[in-house]
Every structure is written in C-alpha cells, then in structure tokens.
Symmetry: C2
Subunit: 356 residues, 2 copies
C-alpha cells in the first residue's frame, strides 16, 4: 500500500520483488517466510517489512511444483445439500483445516463417468487424498473402478478414501471408513420388537444398494433373534427419499384397504419416515397411537417433525473427520486400512408399546 514497488506495476508481486525491495536474495526471502531455516534478525526484519509493504503472498502452484506448500484434500459426493453428505463434507473440511489442508469439493450426481473424470482432475491437482462418499450398488464394475482409482492415486503418492462405501478387495491400497449400518438397523428393529411389535413393515430402501441391503439384513436378523418367522417380515423397498416413501407407504396401505396388519413401520431413512407419517395421517391412522414409526440417519427432520422420530444416528461429520485423519496417517505402507464407526439409536416419540 502507499509506497509503490518497482515491479508491482502490473500483475502479481513475486518473491523477486520482495527480495529486491528488501535488498536480499530470493533464497533469503524464501527462508524467512518459510521460517524453517536460520536467518539473521536483520534480514528477517527487512524481508517481513518488504513482504508486508508489497502485500505479498506466495504462489501456491510454484510452491507445490518446488515440492513444498499446503496440501489439498478432495471430497467427492453425490450432492452438497443432502444432510448426510453435507455433514460428511463439513467433517472433511474441518479436519482438513485443522491439519492446515485446503479442501476441494465436487459433486458426482451419481454418475460414474463424472466420478472418474473428477478422480483424474484430483490427480492433476495432486490432492493428498480423495474421499468418495455415499452408498452404491456394489457390482464387479464398481469394484474394478475403485481398484483402479486406488492404484492410480497411490502411484501419484495420493490415496483413495472410501467413506460409507463397501471396501474393494483387501489388497487394494485404500482407506475405508464405514459406519455400522446393519447394527443400527438391528437395534432399531429390536427396539420395536421390545415394545411388543411383531408385524413390522420395512419400506423405503433401494434394492441392490449396499446401504439399503445392510439395513434390511439388520432388520431380518433382529426378527430372527426375536423368534419372528421370516414369513412375517414385510419388505417393500422402492427407493430412498420422501417420494419413494410416500409411494411405498401408500402401496402397503392400499393393499389392505387402509387396515394394516403391521403395527409398526421401519423406514429406510428419515425422509421416508416423514412421508410415511404423512400418508398414515392421510389414511386416518395416528402415529404413534395406531402405528409406530422409526427411521434411519438422524436427519435434522427427525428432531423437527411431529411426533419426534425415533431413529438411528449416523455420525456423518465424524465419518468425514475420520476419513481425513486416516488418510493423513503414516503414508508408509500401502496396505488397506479400515475403520468402523458406531451407530446408535435415538429415542423420541414415534414408538408406542403395542397394547394387546
């Protein structure tokens, strides 16, 4: 400000400008600014003064090329606004910031081609790690894709982090952070069973999607554990989300002319649960007086809706934090590392004991 540097006329001011104004070499400027090398108090003062006068900031690209500077973490999600993804993104960003990393976000829109393109871009950026978030359909194509990502990232000194996604083969050099999806489903179903419910409908999950499948597995296991015959299970998953929840709930109610045999509904996620409650009301059924409802995710809506929804909490932000923590861990070995985070049930007001 105020004083005008010789070279700052146009464009950026570089380390050369600072050196000139301070009357020292470029090397010295670099060293005092990095502060990782002995420098005399005199040059230190001159350099700092000059840098401030010129409002100098180093060029991160040049720094990176020279093998130094701040690193970057990339997070690739289906979208940015959904509460689960937003929570993971926030965890990634916060943990990254704590380790003095910057974070790059991009949304894939569930498009594998886009995902691949983004992984390549992140390789170009020499991201220190790229974390992939979100459930998927786990098929051979998926596994192969992940193996390739992991390989090419590793070759560039970066690493792949799978967050809430199934791990590829054990020899694939990836970091995996998951949450205990099945246990949560088991717990919340058991909660219903413990309240005396026997006939529990499970709706609102996407068949084939690993997240949905794991929840179904937990539900079925809980039923079995409580001696409910498999034939009493009612499964109707047409997809996640509010729209699908609405549809699934209506299907079930229409099938029985609005007089269901089930006394409780386990919704694949909280938005499905919200839709289910609304449909139930529309059919003249009260929640929880007539029908109990539980969800999954502990989305903000669960606490906001009426009645408050009993659901399973997923540690979204913690998943993100753990993802970068693990990614930043010893870069030495290239073997796979995994971590499983716990889930727990959050009890609110949408479940009532069945009265015989």
């Amino acid at each position: 400000m105020g004083e005008r540097g010789e070279t700052e006329a146009t464009g950026r001011v570089t380390i050369r400008d600072v050196a000139a104004r301070a009357g020292v070499s470029v090397a010295t400027v670099s060293r005092v600014l990095a502060g990782n090398y002995p420098t005399s108090a005199a040059s230190r003062a001159k350099v700092l003064r000059a840098a401030k006068d010129l409002d100098y900031v180093a060029n991160a690209h040049a720094r990176a090329l020279a093998g130094a500077g701040r690193k970057t973490i990339a997070v690739l999600l289906l979208d940015v606004v959904s509460s689960y993804y937003a929570a993971v993104a926030q965890g990634v960003e916060k943990e990254a910031a704590q380790h003095d990393r910057l974070t790059l976000v991009a949304s894939t829109g569930a498009d594998p081609a886009r995902e691949l393109a983004l992984v390549q871009m992140m390789r170009e950026q020499t991201a220190e790690a790229v974390v992939l978030v979100g459930g998927v359909v786990e098929d051979a194509a998926y596994r192969e894709r992940m193996a390739q990502y992991a390989q090419s990232l590793a070759a560039a000194g970066s690493r792949l982090v799978l967050c809430g996604r199934p791990a590829p083969a054990p020899d694939v050099p990836a970091v995996v952070v998951e949450y205990d999806n099945e246990a949560g489903a088991h717990a919340v179903t058991s909660h219903l069973l413990g309240a005396g419910h026997r006939k529990i409908a499970m709706i609102g999950y996407q068949p084939g999607n690993t997240t949905g499948e794991d929840r179904v597995r937990g539900y079925l296991r809980a039923l079995a554990d409580h001696g409910v015959p498999r034939s009493d299970a009612v499964l109707h998953g047409v997809g996640f989300g509010q729209h699908n929840g609405d549809r699934a709930m209506r299907d079930l109610l229409d099938r029985c002319d609005g007089k269901p045999e089930f006394t409780a509904v386990f919704a694949g996620d909280d938005r499905v649960a919200l839709a289910a409650v609304k449909v139930l009301h529309a059919y003249g059924l009260r929640v929880p007086e007539d029908i109990s409802v539980v969800g999954y995710n502990d989305d903000p809506v669960a606490a906001d809706m009426t009645p408050g929804l009993t659901t399973v909490h997923i540690p979204g932000e913690e998943l993100g934090r753990t993802a970068v923590r693990l990614a930043l861990g010893d870069t030495g070995r290239s073997q796979q590392r995994r971590q499983l985070l716990g889930t727990h049930i959050v009890i609110r007001d949408s479940v009532r004991p069945v009265t015989p």
Copy 2:
C-alpha cells in the same frame, strides 16, 4: 498398466515420460494433449497411446505456473451444513463445474481473523474468484476489511464476490449478489395483514445483523402501508436459530401469562418459526387456529413441519450460481457489479384469517 515405462519406476509419470515413450518432443505431447494446436495424426496417435499406457495426467500446478490449466473458485462460508449455506455452496459448485472450474470450500466459523487467513490462502492458490457468503454486522471494520480483500484480490487478477452480504463502497472492485430481503419480509407481513392480522409479533432475528435489520424494515414498512400504528409493532429479536426462537417466544408468552394480544408471529427464520410453533403448542395455543405463524428462508423444515410453514423463499442455489456467473463475466473493467435476486412467499398451512 502392463507394460512398464522406463522412468515411471518411482513417483509420478511426467510429460517427459510420455514424450520418450511416444518418440516425440515434450512440446508435441503438450500440444496434442491440449488439442489447441495443429498436430499430425501420426504423432497424435502415438502420444495418446503413450499417455494412456502410462496413465498420465498433467500436473495442474505446473500447468498453472506456465499460465494455463483449470481455474479454481473458492467459497467461504460460516459453515457447511446449514441449509442456506449448503444451498449456496451447491450452486457455486455446480456452476463452477459447468465452466470447468474446481471449487475450494472453507468455513470461517464467523471469525474475521480466520476469514482473512482464508482469503490470503485463496490468493496463494490464485483462485479466480473468492465468494464470501452470509450475513454480517455491517460496521466500519467490515467495510474496510472487504475493501482490502477486494483490492488485494484484484491486484492478483482475482475477484471478490459478496453473496447475500452488504456491498462496500461503490468504488470497491467487488461483485455483489444479494436477494431482496426486505421485499420478502414486506410480502409475508402483508400476507398476514391481508388475512386480517393487525397485531403481529416479530421475533428471532439478530439486532445489528444486516439480514435481520432488513427483515425488520420490511415488516415495519408493511405495517405502515396497512395503516397499523408503529406502536402496535412488537419486536423481540434475540438472535436467529431454534434456540433463540424458543427463548423469544417464551419471553413474549410469559409477559402476558400465555394470553397474547398478537394473533400472528413473524419469525426471523424458519428454525425460529419451528421453535415458536412448539412453544405455542406447549402453552396450549394452536397453530394456525389460535395463532398464525410465518417464517423466512424456506428451509427444508418449512415443508416438513406440521403445519406446513408459510415462509419466504430465498434462492440459495441460484445465489451461488449467479455469484460465479458474474465472477466469470468480462474480467475487463474493475468496477463493481451487482445483482439483486428476487424472493417470493411460499404459502402453506400456518396462516389463518382472523375471525372477528
């Protein structure tokens, strides 16, 4: 894969490796990969083949240093999960992606020092634009800070974008994208007035914060327009958010022993509205039968809660998109550019005409 390159033994494969394998010069590799220069079909084929064999991706830092490559947009928000910020972030990311830009996110936690540090980092990254999101207390310090950001960013060929924030002095080289905050408040208050409400309590905004002040202004103007004396206005803003909404609503109700004179509540944001409805219920007051309630933001909770909340829609994602669109516009002039986005009222079920 498969075949092993000569130099790829350790670390990254560079353009030099590709050139060697293809039997051409580094310059030629650069040109065919960039595709912005005439090259023979023969070399093109060889280069592409070699690049593929070696799984080559260019180093973005080297590219950037050489004055080419993909640009980056930075977005700085209070936090990542709040629905408004998440919506803006999503808009920024999507629009940036459409223009082949990458997006860097960081949260400031409402800390000016952190904000400043982030702006510097983004300067280092040579971000093409840095978008600052969120309401603020507009004082001299704020204006000066923004002027400095704008200045130093401009000096580096980047630009400052203020999103949903007051513009600094007109000569400051910034881009400003706002939404019509006051008009929205005016509209929703008028909606209440049109339904016969005269005594309308406004709660849940933060005094001093520009966002809150603008909403109060719209409320007051609507009252005046409808001939309601200023003395009938009841203003009780102790802050945004659910917690403050709960507190404000209780305050008001306690003051009158649960028998309010007001027949309607205008909440400063939707989470405040949610809290207000819950408190009202707790006091035995029905919404909208006894008291009408409106909010602001059109947060997801507005559609989810019961009753559905009549509120003002803010075009969050569109704000983000517009921010980058404007930032990417002609880089020529360094004067300020502004855009005001509209808001509109969303009518749901939380308002009822007053019956005399």
